[in-house]
Structures are given as C-alpha cells and as structure tokens.
C-alpha cells in the first residue's frame, strides 16, 4: 500500500464513453492482486473533492524511451465516463499528474482444486476480471460471459480471447452476441451440474441474478461490489455493505474497502431489507 504521486502514460477512448488509462506505478506488478482497486486523485484542485475507486485492469511493463533505462512499470485502468470525476479523467494526457493510493482491498481467491472457472461481467464490471483471467488461465479452463446494453458496452473481449478464455456475449438489444441478459448464458451453462467456480462483477441487478443462479446450482461464487467510497482504507465507514444475517434490528455491515470489494457470496445479505429512515444528522 502506498500513495504514489505519479503521471499518466496514456489515456485512450476504446468505445464511445469507455477509456483505458495507463499510469506509471512502480511496485504494482509485485503488489497488486486480481480484484484489488486503487483510489485515484484525478487533479490537484478539490473538484472533485474525493478520490475515485477503480479496479486494476492489469499491471505490466513498457519499454523506456531509451534503451539504457529500465522498463516502466504501469497499472492500467479501464473506465466509463459517468460524472464529474470521470469527465476530468477523460481530459488527462500523457505526462499529467495523478495520485494513486493502493493497491487496496481484498482480491479474488481461486480454489486450485476446481478445474473450470466461469467469469461473469456486466459492462464496466469486466475490469477486475481481466487480471483474474490472466492468473486463472495458467491452471484452469476459463469461460467469460459478458453482457451489456449494446455492442458499445462490450469492451476488451479480444484481450480475454488472446489469453485463451472462451468468451460468450449477450446484449440487451441483440447488437452483439445473444439477445438478452448475460445471466441467461450462465443459467444455460449451469443447467447440467458440474464442478465450477464463478467470479462476477457488474451492476447490482446482474449480481442478484447471478447469486440466485449459483445458489440454485450450488456453485461457489465470489462477487466484486462497487460501493461509494470516501477513503478506501477503512477509516470513514462510508462504503459498508450488508452482511449475511443482516436485519433492521440487528444490522450487520461489512466494510467493502477493507473486507471487500471482493466477497464470497455467502458472506453477504441478498435479501432486500427495507431501508430504515431516521431523522436528524448522524455523523
């Protein structure tokens, strides 16, 4: 864990509204584990004020500008422009200053005894699954089910294919792959019982459906959640998610930046508990 004051190496649009950004990041190729994230400060001013969390897409080295220098160690993020912070990020160019806190959080943990792995990604939720795939392909047969609204939301899949991952696509409008939700693909695959392990990241409705399918098929599932975060280090307690056994009278919260963002599905509460409303400010 470190707070790096560093620079952007490259920042490119890869699909309308989706970008990938390489950042100079010494130490990350050793320290970052699949499923971990960073808190990125996109500029020195206080707009936006808080850092933004991003999953690690991959780590690696690129050759230095001159042969006598050692290669540059980088971290790559893939992001979707959704608001002020990501709008600012899109403007960044090679050489611009950014601050990088990380790598943070728990990562995915694969069970070596299970030979087949299934990855399920929804839209930008694909990001943390790529680094995981680079590890899993070394020992297992890996399939990726990826979904999005339309073909523009399906990103970086050729890179998964290059790793030897078997990729199946579903789009809601049918512009690429099967028409419908990505969860249908998972359901079909799990129809015949077989030993596998599922790793998923994406919007909450997708994760809800994936959880139901895996629970029915008795397949183990790890999910990476996207909570709102202020600190990323366990200090503010703003990022909590509901843990298994959570009730209104006995709330159980898990800190998603330190105990997560990757959780075993069984450790989470998948019942939608009614929100409690209280008046008065609470700090």
């Amino acid at each position: 864990m470190q707070d790096l004051k560093t620079i952007v190496l490259s920042n490119q649009e890869i699909s309308p509204g989706y970008y990938r950004m390489k950042i100079l990041a010494s130490g990350y190729s050793e320290s970052a584990k699949p499923g971990q994230f960073v808190m990125l400060r996109v500029q020195r001013s206080f707009t936006p004020l808080l850092r933004r969390p991003f999953g690690v897409f991959q780590v690696g080295f690129i050759p230095a500008d001159c042969d006598t220098l050692p290669p540059k160690e980088f971290i790559e993020l893939v992001y979707k422009v959704v608001g002020g912070g990501t709008e600012t990020m899109r403007e960044l160019q090679s050489g611009d200053a950014v601050e990088l806190l990380g790598p943070l959080g728990s990562g995915f943990t694969a069970d070596a005894s299970i030979a087949e792995k299934i990855l399920v990604g929804g839209g930008i939720g694909l990001v943390p699954l790529y680094m995981l795939a680079t590890e899993l392909v070394k020992t297992s047969k890996v399939s990726l089910f990826v979904g999005g609204r339309t073909r523009d939301d399906i990103i970086t899949i050729s890179e998964f294919e290059r790793l030897g991952v078997n990729v199946s696509v579903a789009t809601e409008d049918g512009s690429l792959g099967e028409t419908g939700f990505v969860t249908r693909l998972l359901e079909q695959r799990l129809e015949e019982p077989h030993q596998t392990e599922v790793f998923a990241c994406g919007p909450m409705p997708m994760l809800d459906a994936v959880q139901k399918i895996c629970a029915t098929s008795e397949v183990s599932l790890q999910v990476s959640l996207e909570a709102l975060m202020a600190c990323g280090v366990g200090a503010c307690l703003g990022c909590v998610v509901k843990g298994e056994g959570h009730t209104i009278n006995e709330p159980r919260y898990l800190c998603s930046c330190t105990s997560g963002p990757v959780f075993n599905a069984e450790s989470l509460d998948w019942n939608k508990t009614e929100a409690i409303k209280m008046v008065g400010g609470g700090k």
């Binding site: 850092r51 202020a230 280090v233 159980r252 008046v279």
Partner: protein, 312 residues
C-alpha cells in the same frame, strides 16, 4: 554554532491545551482517521500533535443504512451513524496499537443518554495512554424526544456536568454548529466544566437525486464537511474564542497550512483535519511542514506568538 542556526531556522510549533503538551497544533478530526491504524501505512503518527479516534459509545454501534456518503460541491455529506466497536472493545483491541506512539491519544465519545455519556467517560478514565477525552454532544438525547444535547444550553450543560464528575482526564467538548447562537452554548459548556472546546462538527445538510427523487443518503439528512464549510467554521471559532477563556480547537474544511493558519490567527490553539485525510492521507504531514515554513518566512519563532493575533 550549527545548533544556534538550527534554533533560528526551526520555529517552535508546540502548543499546550488543558495541560496536554502537543508537538504541534495539528491532529485528525474524529471519524476521519479511524482508530489511527488505518492511516499508519501512509503517515508517521509520531509526527502528529495528537491522535483523535473515531467516536466511541457504551455499546458497539452498527451505524446507518446505505448510502451513507455523497459528494457535494467542495464537500461531502455523511450519515455514518456513529458506527463503532464500543468502548470496551476499543480499550481492549485498539489502545495497544495507539500506545506505541509518542503522540497523545484523544478519545472521542458520545452517548444516547446523559447516563451513557457518564459511563463511557468513567470507563476511559483509568485507561493508560488516553491523554484526554473529546465529548461529541451533537447527538440526540433518546430520553428527551431526540433533541440534540449540543443544541440546548441546559441539556448541554447538564451532560457536561455529569461527565465532568466521572473523569479526571482533560475534557474537550465538541460543539455543533447547528445552533442559533454558539456563544451561549460555548459559555454553558465552559461553566459546566469543559477544559477546552473543539468546533465545528458537521453542518446538517441534504442532497437529492433528481432522477429518482430520493435523498442521496439513506438517512435523508447528513453532516456536511470539507472545504465548503471552512468560512462558517472560521466565523464560529472567532465567536467562541471571544466568549470563553478555555482553549479552543478549530475544525472545518482544513486542507493545507494556509487553512490551518486562518483558525490559529482567529484564536484556535490547535486545529483538526478531517475530510482532507480522505483526499490526501499525508495531508497533516504536509500541513505541519508548511506551517514551519510559514513561520520561518514570517520570522515567527514560536507559533504561540501567532495564535489569536487577528487584526480587527
């Protein structure tokens, strides 16, 4: 020779608050620095004037429903709901870590009733390594229709009086800004036995998602912190300093040495840094270094010579 030069170049940053000797006037604000440990990979806790912990209650508290935070212009709203491990677990599990450092530990605490406030203070009273208590009175009194202790001069005085009886440690009372006349509250808590006052806690606020038409916090209302509140905080510290004799600790939107200096000039003896820690885990280290630089540049040998020098 080099020693003499050093003395000229190294201004004195040490301050004293209610008998507490601080290396410098910079400390974290409660709830923004966890129990210290969370930020120890990023900042040397020995550098700090003090460490202020997350607010502690008699029993563990699970906190509010989510979402608990949202960003606003130059600030953030939070309704964490005072989630904490409870005072006994704090003493057992968190104090050992904090005691390693040569930095005074100030334990922030609160209660749901006057009795609970007293009980938490009593349990912390004989704990070695606890240098002082900071009492958060921005909490609703569940026995009296939920009126916030810190907004009612009588309730505030009563709860401070009852805590004062249960502790021998220096007692800092943390004031809420959500009142009409802060000077009345400041005097009431000083008379009830506060050794120092700290302010401000967050300003109550609210934000709405215009698409879903729902409040952006599950709790509807939250506390505003960050640079947006600084001018309000500076004004309130200015008013409190004029109303009381006890030392005052300034809090609210501090991100850099210049921000901290505003509070010191107005008369705060020390300051707390909150939301800025989230943005910059080493914000306090930078502030301390830059305070020193400022003193050198301005020819100030001792920071105490600067405190309360507002020109009107």
């Amino acid at each position: 020779m080099s020693n003499a030069v050093e003395q000229v170049l190294k201004p004195k940053l040490a301050v004293e608050i209610a008998g507490l000797k601080l290396k410098n006037p910079i400390m974290p604000a409660s709830g923004t620095f966890g129990y210290g440990e969370e930020y120890s990979p990023y900042i040397d806790l020995n550098q700090l004037g003090a460490i202020v912990t997350k607010g502690m209650s008699l029993n563990p508290k699970a906190g509010n429903n989510t979402p608990r935070i949202c960003e606003t212009v130059s600030g953030m709203l939070n309704a964490i709901g005072l989630q904490n491990v409870g005072v006994d677990a704090f003493i057992k599990d968190k104090m050992a870590f904090l005691s390693q450092y040569d930095t005074p530990v100030i334990v922030n605490f609160f209660g749901n009733t006057q009795e609970e406030y007293g009980e938490v203070a009593a349990r912390l009273d004989d704990v070695p390594g606890v240098a002082a208590l900071e009492m958060n009175i921005s909490c609703p009194n569940v026995k009296h229709g939920g009126i916030v202790f810190g907004t009612d001069p009588q309730a505030a005085a009563a709860v401070v009086t009852s805590v004062r009886k249960r502790t021998t440690k220096p007692l800092i009372v943390k004031l809420t800004p959500n009142v009409t006349d802060i000077q009345i509250l400041a005097r009431a808590t000083e008379e009830a036995g506060a050794d120092a006052l700290s302010l401000i806690n967050t300003l109550t606020g609210m934000a709405v998602d215009i698409k879903t038409r729902k409040p952006r916090l599950a709790n509807t209302i939250g506390g505003l912190s960050g640079p947006a509140i600084r001018p309000v905080a500076v004004r309130l510290v200015h008013q409190v300093v004029q109303a009381v004799k006890v030392p005052v600790i300034g809090i609210g939107g501090i991100t850099c040495a210049a921000d901290a200096l505003e509070f010191l000039i107005v008369g705060a003896k020390a300051v707390q840094v909150g939301t800025a820690n989230f943005v910059n885990p080493d914000a306090m280290a930078t502030i301390i270094a830059d305070l020193e630089k400022f003193c050198v540049e301005e020819g100030i040998a001792d920071i105490n010579d600067l405190i309360g020098t507002l020109e009107l």
